[in-house]
């Protein structure tokens, strides 16, 4: 199937100012042509990729924002802002490619141990960007995206928690694409939470001590059902930027058959080429991974 659904538009407003001279107009037209070619090339590459299996769910560990800021001599907050822009790019590429679920590791419970100013900066940025996402014409509208905030939201301040809950409610009717944002999340916290929930759901009103051994046991599926991530299937791929090879307490339960990729680019430097390479490699291993997933 050939997936160029919408033709590439010439973004004349963005590239050409109205008061250009003749010479600048020439350069401007050249830029327009290049931009159009770039869009066409991207859609063409995605059409080729779509011949093979496309992952249904990709998880990203967005590592390297602070190192990026240091490398470019920026303020620390600017590294995180660049990281957000990179996230929006990647979301656009993934949803255009046909990926339905995307999970991003935005803030770990361990990150609360950072400097309070940095934590506050990140929380403020999160609230600001949630409001941006809920505006008309944002990427959420463009792809009919449903937002989930996954993690121990009770650890967040009331402002952030309220913004997250508002975003989840506002997008609850969407179903074309899903974005899961892991905030105040660690996999070990998720597993313990799921066990606690399973215990609470399994308890009886009153049990005599001699009957405790006869109470139905908690099974793996009971725990799985109460995981924060039970709203999405297991990821097909995990991508961690900045070359680190650890999962860092992210989706440990869900990634038994999810290959981990570690491009060395920092998160703000991640590009479409990384995504293309990862999907091509995933297609090479698809038969093996499917066989493993179907085993009991």
């Amino acid at each position: 199937m050939f997936l160029i659904r919408k033709p590439c538009q010439i973004h004349s407003n963005q590239l050409c100012a109205p008061d250009n001279t003749m010479e600048k107009e020439g350069i401007c037209k050249f830029k327009q042509l290049f931009s159009y070619l770039g869009c066409f090339l991207r859609k063409f590459m995605f059409s080729i990729l779509s011949v093979g299996p496309i992952p249904d769910h990709i998880a990203f560990i967005m590592d390297g924002n602070r190192r990026f800021a240091k490398k470019r001599h920026l303020l620390e907050g600017d590294g995180h802002k660049a990281g957000y822009e990179s996230l929006i790019s990647i979301l656009n590429y993934c949803y255009q490619l046909g990926v339905k679920y995307i999970t991003v590791y935005a803030f770990s419970i361990e990150n609360f141990k950072r400097q309070p100013e940095e934590v506050q900066l990140l929380m403020d940025l999160m609230v600001e960007k949630i409001e941006d996402l809920l505006r008309n014409g944002s990427i959420v509208d463009k792809y009919g995206m449903r937002l989930y905030f996954v993690g121990n939201l009770g650890l967040l301040s009331s402002t952030v928690r309220a913004a997250a809950e508002k975003a989840m409610q506002a997008t609850a009717h969407n179903s074309r694409a899903v974005l899961l944002i892991c905030v105040a999340y660690t996999s070990s916290n998720e597993m313990v939470h799921a066990v606690n929930q399973a215990i609470r759901k399994n308890e009886f009103d009153s049990v005599e001590e001699e009957h405790i051994e006869k109470v139905p046991m908690i099974k793996i599926n009971d725990i799985k059902r109460h995981m924060y991530m039970s709203v999405a299937p297991d990821p097909d791929i995990v991508i961690r930027s900045s070359g680190e090879t650890r999962l860092s307490n992210f989706l440990l339960w869900q990634t038994a058959y999810s290959p981990l990729y570690s491009p060395t680019a920092l998160w703000p430097e991640i590009s479409i080429w990384h995504l293309i390479w990862v999907v091509l490699d995933f297609q090479r291993k698809y038969a093996y991974l499917q066989k493993k997933r179907k085993q009991p």
């Binding site: 050939f2 160029i4 033709p7 590439c8 010439i10 973004h11 037209k29 042509l33 931009s35 070619l37 770039g38 869009c39 090339l41 059409s47 080729i48 779509s50 011949v51 093979g52 490398k71 790019s89 070990s188 597993m191 313990v192 066990v195 215990i199 399994n202 308890e203 009886f204 405790i212 046991m217 908690i218 099974k219 793996i220 009971d222 725990i223 930027s241 900045s242 680190e244 650890r246 999962l247 860092s248 307490n249 440990l252 990634t255 038994a256 290959p259 981990l260 491009p263 680019a265 590009s271 479409i272 080429w273 390479w277 091509l280 490699d281 297609q283 090479r284 291993k285 093996y288 085993q295």
Partner: protein
């Protein structure tokens, strides 16, 4: 403009072109990637020869003390090749690794535990507390795990906590009990799946996934893919352990395609860099 009009026309023509052309292009791309990996395999074989013969001096001295606990994940089909597993363990002993956890999801290695321990006279089975004990230069501690120690162990630990919860609710203390991570760790130890967290995990299989290795022990473990057990080599094993023992800092200063795939063919970087950079800048816009 003439150029953009012609591109629009070709775009609509392509929308009608059968997908056979795309299939051919897709197959071609995968063929090129396969050839690339074959070339990479040859480079790895040459590197393995150089490391094994001692030509690459930097691998002569490794601070293996930094690697306190190593885990090996093997695909269950490959795990039936016990002679390969024994060879791998022998290499690890030569390198000086003291604690090894072997994992395969079906438990094939667990079933072959006696054979392996018999063949490796210097190896002994892991017991709780072993990670703190000092070992002589020849002994290696081996642990055998499977999915029984993964999700199934977590369910058993959950049931242990559940029974504790029921007993508490019978008592005078009627407060709601919420179990913590520390209590989960204790419960996992109590059900016999409480081993230490590995520093490094080597995956021998077609893909770099942990295949269900006990999640509770994988939080900050470095995961490295070694290829299939069939084609295992000493050089890459030594290199992986050597790299782990170094302090690494990555600043991602090379182009993605080149960094991921072309690290062994550095000469092509200069020629490809210019071309890819031009397209990269344009493709990022939308």
């Amino acid at each position: 403009m003439v150029a953009t009009d012609s591109i629009r026309k070709s775009s609509s023509r392509m929308a009608q072109t059968p997908s056979f052309a795309l299939l051919i292009l897709w197959l071609l791309i995968h063929l090129v990637i396969s050839i690339f990996f074959i070339v990479l395999g040859i480079v790895d074989t040459v590197e393995d020869y150089l490391i094994s013969s001692g030509f690459l001096k930097r691998y002569d001295v490794i601070n293996v003390g930094k690697l306190r606990y190593l885990a090996i994940v093997v695909d269950s089909e490959d795990a039936m090749q016990i002679n390969k597993v024994l060879k791998l363990l022998q290499w690890l002993t030569d390198i000086g690794v003291k604690h090894v956890c072997l994992y395969d999801s079906e438990g094939v290695l667990k079933k072959s535990k006696e054979i392996i321990l018999e063949k490796l006279s210097y190896a002994k089975l892991y017991e709780e507390g072993d990670e703190k004990s000092a070992l002589d230069s020849k002994t290696m501690i081996l642990e055998f795990t499977s999915q029984f120690d993964g999700k199934e162990a977590l369910a058993r630990a959950a049931n242990l906590l559940f029974k504790r919860h029921l007993k508490l609710s019978l008592g005078e203390n009627q407060e709601e009990k919420i179990f913590t991570e520390a209590q989960m760790t204790e419960a996992l130890k109590a059900v016999g799946s409480g081993g230490p967290e590995p520093d490094l995990l080597l995956v021998y299989g077609p893909a770099r996934c942990h295949l269900g290795f006990p999640a509770w022990r994988l939080r900050y473990t470095e995961i490295v893919h070694m290829g299939s057990l069939d084609s295992m080599k000493y050089g890459p094993l030594l290199k992986a352990i050597y790299k782990f023992t170094l302090v690494r800092q990555n600043y991602g200063n090379k182009h993605p395609l080149l960094r991921i795939g072309f690290h062994s063919i550095w000469r092509l970087e200069v020629y490809l860099f210019i071309l890819i950079n031009i397209f990269d800048r344009q493709v990022r816009e939308f």
